[in-house]
C-alpha cells in the first residue's frame, strides 16, 4: 500500500483542536508554541499512514475517523493490534529514539488528523523544558496504555483455557 496523503496543509488556528484530545492537558503557552508546527492531514480508507520500521515523520492527533495499528506477519497477513479513535495521539515514536514506527498505521475510514512535525517538535522539546515536562507524560501515558492493552490481549482473557469440570 502506498503512502498517499490527500492533503497536507499548515493548520489554521481554527483547525487546531486541543480540547477532547490526549493533548488537552497542555497549557496555553505550550499550545501556542506547538501550534506553528501543526499541519492538517487527510487520508482515504486503506492508506498506510505510518510504516513499521521507517522513520516516524510526525506526532499525530486523530481528529476524525479510525486508524488501525497493525503488524505484518509473514504467511498470516496483517494483524490489527489496536484501533485509534478521535482524540487519540499516534506516532509517539516521533519523540522516542530511534524514531522509527513500531507498527503500521492504516486508515480504516476517511481520516482527518493534525500532524506535529517530528524534527521541529524535538527541537522545541530540547529548547523548552516546560513543553517537554508537559508533553512527555502525555506521550508516556499513551505508550503505557498501549503496553497494558497488549498485555491484556496477550492474556487472551476471553479465550478458553482448557477443559473444566463441566
Amino acid at each position: 500500500m502506498e503512502r498517499k496523503e490527500l492533503a497536507t496543509a499548515a493548520a489554521t488556528a481554527d483547525e487546531i483542536r486541543w480540547v477532547g484530545t490526549d493533548l488537552e492537558p497542555l497549557g496555553e503557552r505550550e499550545r501556542s508554541l506547538l501550534a506553528p508546527l501543526a499541519a492538517t492531514i487527510e487520508y482515504e480508507p486503506g492508506v498506510l499512514i505510518l510504516h513499521e520500521g521507517r522513520p516516524t515523520p510526525f506526532l499525530g492527533i486523530l481528529a476524525a475517523g479510525r486508524i488501525a495499528l497493525r503488524l505484518q506477519v509473514p504467511a498470516r497477513g496483517p494483524y490489527v493490534v489496536v484501533t485509534l479513535e478521535p482524540g487519540d495521539i499516534f506516532g509517539w515514536s516521533a519523540l522516542v529514539p530511534p524514531h522509527r514506527a513500531t507498527s503500521d498505521a492504516v486508515a480504516l475510514t476517511p481520516v482527518h488528523a493534525l500532524a506535529l512535525d517530528a524534527e521541529r517538535l524535538r527541537d522545541v522539546l530540547r529548547d523548552d523544558h516546560e513543553v517537554a515536562a508537559q508533553l512527555l507524560p502525555i506521550v508516556l501515558r499513551c505508550v503505557s496504555e498501549r503496553l497494558t492493552s497488549s498485555w491484556h490481549q496477550l492474556l487472551d482473557l476471553f479465550g478458553t483455557r482448557g477443559v473444566g469440570p463441566w
Binding site: 479510525r66 488501525a68 497493525r70 497477513g77 496483517p78 494483524y79 490489527v80 493490534v81 489496536v82 484501533t83 479513535e85 478521535p86 482524540g87 487519540d88 480504516l108 475510514t109 496504555e145 497494558t148 492493552s149 491484556h152 490481549q153 492474556l155 487472551d156 482473557l157 476471553f158 479465550g159 478458553t160 483455557r161 482448557g162 477443559v163 473444566g164 469440570p165 463441566w166
Partner: protein, 693 residues
C-alpha cells in the same frame, strides 16, 4: 446484603459451665448405672435404634455399630501427638483397666453417621421418548443412638447443624439422619496432648446436645438426663440415685481433665487476628510441609464440603449423582469452567482451610468451625499442629496471656442473612424442554427453554440455574433471558457437560434447579446513568438485565453498553446488538484481535471509555467478564469517579450445589452462590483482587 455480624469475637462468659451434676434427692438428680447394667442400656436403645459406639479397629478407635457393651474399648488408652496416635491396653488391675471410655475421641467421630462420606443425591433418567427425569433421592431414616460421644463431638454436631440445617437451604439427607439421633455422651476423664477443647470453649464438660450424659467412675457410671427422651430412658432403667461421693468423683474427674489441658489457642479475637494476616510468610512455610492429603478435613468433625459425582450406565440413560465428601485441599476444588483454579497454590488451599475454620466460619455461621478435638493434629502425617500455626500467624498481642475460653456451646452470634426462612430454598429439579437452539459462535449456543414452572419464570437477571442431564456433571449456568414462557441459557462449550449442552437440539429435555443467587440490583440504577460492560461470555448474564433496562428505559438518565469480544467471530447476540444500535442505544464494541477485514474497534474494553466516558457519581455500572477484565474495568471506573458501591460485578466460582452447602465457591466470608454471584465492589473490598482467595 452480605452476612456481616456486628462483631466476630467469642462472647465472654466467666469460667467453666455451671455445674450440671447437682447431687440431690429430686427426680432429676444423677443416677448410678452399674457397669454390669451398661448392656441393659444398650439393649434398651437397640429396641428402636441401631447403636453406634467406639470400637478398636485397625489400631485406632472408630465409631461403629455395636450390639453389646463388651465391644466397647474396655481397658484401652490412647496417646496422641502431632502425627501420631497409639492405642495401648492397660494391664489388668491397673487404673482404668475396667473402663470403657477412659481413652479419647474416636477418629471418625459421629460425622460418618449423620453426614456419610457418600450418599445418593439424585437419580437421572433419559427415557425412550427422549424425556428426562431428575429425582432427588430421599434418605431412608434409620433411627440411631450414639454412645460415647464427647463434648467436642457434640459441639461439632451443633456446628454442622448450623451449616446444613440452618438455612436458607437445608441438606435433606443430613436433616433426615439428624432428626432421629439419640446421644449418650461421656464426659472425658482423660485428655491427650492434642486435645484443646478448653481453648475453643467446647468441653470437656458436656453442656448441651446430649440426651444422656455419663461420667465413668470405677464400677459404673454417674448418669444424668439432658432431654425428655433421655429422662424416659433413664427412668425405664429404674436406677438408684448416685451417691454424693460418686457425683463428687465424677465432677472432680472432669475438672481434673480440664486442668490437664494447657491453654493453647487464644480464641478471643482470633478471627480478626487471623484475617489480618492473609499475607503472613508462614503460609508458604506450612505449604512446604503440607502434603495436601486432606486427612485433616476427613477427620475434622465439622468439615462439610462436598462434591457431586455423576455415574452412568454405558448408554447414558440412567445415572446417579452421589454427594461425596470433598476437601478444600484438592487441586480441583476451586476449579471452574475452562479448567482454571482460583486457588492454584498449596498455600492458598491451606490458608483457605485454616482461615475458614477459625475465622470466616463466624461470619457465615455465627460460630467457630473448630471445636478443639485435635484430630487434625494427630492424623496429619507430617504433624502440622494448628495450635502452633495459629500462635505464629495470628499471635495474640504480647500483653495477653493465654486463658482458657469459657464454654460457649450453644451460644452463637446472630447472622443477618438468616432472615430468609430455613428450608425456603427449593432443592428439586424441574424438567424443561429445549424449544429452540441458536448457534451464537463456533463454541457457544443459546438454548430457548420452555417451562410453566412459576419459580423458574420468576427468575431475575443475574441469577443462575443448575442444569442436570443424565450422565453429565451438573454445571451452574447463568440465565441469559427471562421469557414469559421460559428461560434462555447461553452456554459455551468448556468441558464435557457444557459441550453436550451447547450441541443439544430442539426437543431435548433438561432438569433445572433454581433460580439461584442474587440478581442484578436494577433499582440501584434508577434515575442514574447506566453502564453495562460485558466481556466475552460475560454478556450472557447481562442480557436479561439489558432487556429489563430497555423495557423501562425512561427510568434511567442514560444507557450505555460496552462490549468486548475475543475476535469478531466471537461476538454474541450480533443481530440483537445491531438492532439496539439501530434503535439509538449507545453500544460500543471492541475485539481483542482481528484480521484486516475488520473495520470496527480493536483493543481492550476499557479503551471504549475514552470516547464515551461513564464518568462521575451518577453512574451505576453492571460488569461481567473474566475477573482480570473486571478489575481493569473497576480501576478505570474508579479513576472516572464512579462510586464503588455503584459498580456491580458477577463473580465466577466453582458452584457445585448453588445454595451454600457444598463449600466450593467461598471467597473469604462469602458464598458466591448464595451471597452473590452479584456483588458491589465496595462489598468485595480487598477480597476482589487478593491472590488465591
Amino acid at each position: 446484603m452480605l452476612p456481616s455480624p456486628a462483631g466476630t469475637t467469642v462472647p465472654s462468659l466467666p469460667g467453666p459451665p455451671p455445674d450440671r451434676w447437682r447431687a440431690g434427692t429430686g427426680e432429676d438428680s444423677p443416677r448410678f448405672l452399674p457397669l454390669a447394667r451398661l448392656d441393659v442400656l444398650i439393649a434398651e436403645l437397640r429396641r428402636e435404634r441401631r447403636v453406634v459406639g467406639p470400637v478398636v479397629e485397625d489400631g485406632a478407635l472408630r465409631m461403629a455399630e455395636i450390639e453389646r457393651a463388651a465391644e466397647l474399648p474396655f481397658g484401652w488408652t490412647v496417646s496422641a501427638e502431632p502425627g501420631s496416635v497409639r492405642l495401648t491396653r492397660r494391664e489388668s488391675g491397673a487404673p482404668g483397666a475396667e473402663r470403657a471410655f477412659d481413652n479419647a475421641t474416636a477418629w471418625s467421630g459421629i460425622k460418618p453417621w449423620t453426614f456419610p462420606p457418600r450418599v445418593d443425591a439424585l437419580s437421572l433418567e433419559r427415557r425412550d421418548d427422549g424425556s428426562v427425569a431428575v429425582r432427588v433421592e430421599a434418605p431412608t431414616p434409620i433411627p440411631t443412638a450414639v454412645i460415647g460421644a464427647r463434648a467436642c463431638d457434640l459441639a461439632a454436631l451443633a456446628a454442622q447443624d448450623r451449616v446444613l440445617t440452618g438455612g436458607p437451604a437445608i441438606d435433606p439427607d443430613y436433616a433426615t439422619r439428624r432428626s432421629d439421633l439419640f446421644i449418650v455422651a461421656v464426659e472425658c476423664a482423660f485428655a491427650t496432648s492434642v486435645c484443646f477443647c478448653t481453648s475453643m470453649g467446647t468441653g470437656p464438660e458436656v453442656s448441651s446436645g446430649a440426651d444422656i450424659v455419663l461420667s465413668e467412675i470405677d464400677g459404673g457410671f454417674v448418669a444424668r438426663a439432658d432431654s425428655l427422651a433421655g429422662r424416659r430412658l433413664l427412668e425405664s432403667l429404674a436406677l438408684a440415685r448416685a451417691a454424693p461421693a460418686q457425683v463428687r468423683r465424677a465432677t472432680g474427674q472432669v475438672a481434673a481433665t480440664r486442668a490437664s489441658m494447657p491453654s493453647s489457642v487464644q480464641a478471643d479475637g482470633l478471627p480478626e487476628r487471623l484475617l489480618a494476616n492473609l499475607d503472613h510468610p508462614r503460609w508458604e512455610a506450612i505449604a512446604e510441609r503440607c502434603l495436601a492429603c486432606a486427612n485433616c478435613t476427613m477427620v475434622c468433625p465439622t468439615c462439610f464440603c462436598t462434591g457431586i459425582e455423576v455415574g452412568s450406565d454405558l448408554d447414558g440413560r440412567e445415572s446417579k449423582a452421589t454427594r461425596t465428601w470433598d476437601s478444600c485441599f484438592t487441586a480441583g476444588y476451586a476449579q471452574v469452567a475452562g479448567g482454571g483454579s482460583f486457588r492454584p497454590r498449596q498455600r492458598d488451599r491451606y490458608r483457605q482451610w485454616l482461615t475458614h475454620k477459625f475465622g470466616t466460619w463466624w461470619d457465615q455461621f455465627g460460630t467457630s468451625g473448630c471445636v478443639g478435638c485435635g484430630r487434625c493434629i494427630a492424623w496429619c502425617p507430617v504433624g502440622i499442629d494448628v495450635r502452633e500455626e495459629l500462635s505464629i500467624i495470628a499471635a495474640p498481642p504480647a500483653s495477653e496471656q493465654l486463658v482458657a475460653a469459657p464454654t460457649v456451646v450453644g451460644q452463637s452470634l446472630p447472622i443477618l442473612s438468616r432472615s430468609i426462612r430455613a428450608g425456603s430454598v427449593r432443592m428439586d429439579y424441574v424438567t424443561v424442554r429445549v424449544a429452540e437452539v441458536r448457534q451464537e459462535t463456533a463454541d457457544t449456543s443459546t438454548l430457548v427453554l420452555t417451562t410453566n414452572d412459576a419459580a423458574l419464570l420468576s427468575a431475575r437477571p443475574g441469577q443462575f440455574v443448575m442444569v442436570a442431564m443424565p450422565a453429565f456433571a451438573i454445571p451452574p449456568i447463568s440465565i441469559s433471558r427471562i421469557r414469559p414462557d421460559g428461560l434462555e441459557l447461553t452456554i459455551r462449550a468448556a468441558g464435557p457437560a457444557t459441550s453436550t449442552l451447547a450441541r443439544l437440539g430442539p426437543g431435548a429435555e433438561l432438569g433445572l434447579r433454581g433460580p439461584l443467587g442474587r440478581a442484578w440490583p436494577i433499582e440501584d440504577a434508577f434515575e442514574r446513568d447506566v453502564a453495562i460492560i460485558a466481556g466475552g461470555i460475560g454478556l450472557a448474564p447481562l442480557r436479561g438485565l439489558l432487556d429489563q433496562v430497555l423495557a423501562q428505559a425512561d427510568r434511567f438518565r442514560s444507557i450505555r453498553v460496552y462490549l468486548g469480544a475475543r475476535t469478531p467471530r466471537d461476538r454474541l447476540f450480533v443481530s440483537e446488538i445491531e438492532e439496539l444500535t439501530a434503535r439509538g442505544v449507545d453500544v460500543r464494541l471492541t475485539v481483542d484481535r482481528a484480521g484486516p477485514e475488520w473495520l470496527g474497534r480493536v483493543g481492550i474494553i476499557t479503551e471504549l471509555f475514552r470516547g464515551a466516558k461513564p464518568t462521575g457519581a451518577n453512574v451505576t455500572a453492571f460488569v461481567c467478564g473474566p475477573e482480570r477484565m473486571m478489575t481493569a474495568v473497576v480501576d478505570r471506573l474508579t479513576d472516572l469517579a464512579v462510586p464503588r458501591e455503584h459498580i456491580w460485578l458477577t463473580l465466577e466460582r466453582r458452584m457445585e450445589c448453588g445454595v451454600g452447602l457444598c463449600g466450593h465457591c467461598q471467597l473469604g466470608k462469602r458464598f458466591v452462590c448464595k451471597d452473590g454471584p452479584v456483588f458491589s465492589v465496595s462489598e468485595l473490598g480487598e477480597d476482589l483482587r487478593r491472590e488465591g482467595l
